[in-house]
Amino acid sequence: MAIKTLDEVEFGVDLPTFVPDTSLAITTKFAKLVGWDGPRFTDHEAAKKEGLAGAMVPGILSQGYLVAMIHNWAPAAEVLAVDTVFRAPVIADEAHTITGVVTDIDEEDGKVEIDLTVANEKGETRVFGTATVKLPKLPK
């Protein structure tokens, strides 16, 4: 069930797991959209020649997945900040899951802090980050 207001959020609760579309078709389209259409983002074989395990998902797309996950959980959430660390490449066409957990709630200001992680099928963390979002409060 989608979260609508701050009072529905509990400290320590896990957000519903989000499975992003990391297919090469999507990541290539994204890379071209933002002008990052070098072969490392669009071609597995070319990326392997650069020493990568395959074509990479652009880091800013992974960041976009994190925010989309938050909006899937709480459509009205206003993202105030998101900070992302690219720990290791996210490889296109490999399955990844995004998990999130509520680590702080500021009842006064209506803010929620969420820790987010992108992991591959082996459970290895590829990207992690923290987001601060604002949610509507129930009228008193």
């Binding site: 389209k29 960041q63 459509p75 105030l80 900040a81 980050g129």
Partner: protein, 145 residues
Amino acid sequence: MDADIEEIREKYLNLDFDEKQFTIDPETTIQYATLCGETADRFLDANHEDFQAPPTFVASLSGGRMLPKDFPRFGIGMDAGKGVECLQPVRPGSTLTGKTHLHDIYTKTGRSGRMIFVVTRIEFYDAEGNHLVNSDSRMVMRERS
């Protein structure tokens, strides 16, 4: 903090070294949102009353340069992360001005030696001069031995 880092912090932090205009194309922001997996109408429907670019869209906008012209080259730079701080929504169809400065410089030392982290921040303003959003790029340079 190492003396050389203290010195370059004093010389470079918080000084604008680049300015660039960006036109925010509605079709592009909608595609951006769609490819990220956004489902909220305010990012996908140009007719929505609160139509806006997805919060991280500005991370895709690059200034004219990442570092000041005479910034010391410690080694090859790699993308270590991105951050976005949203103050007001970015409206598709508007024109933004991005002003770039170095926001932070720090080091971490590991088994392979010293790594220098540089945070480049672009502050985005609308045509009225309202500060809308900050976009940070964190670059790490492994020092040449």
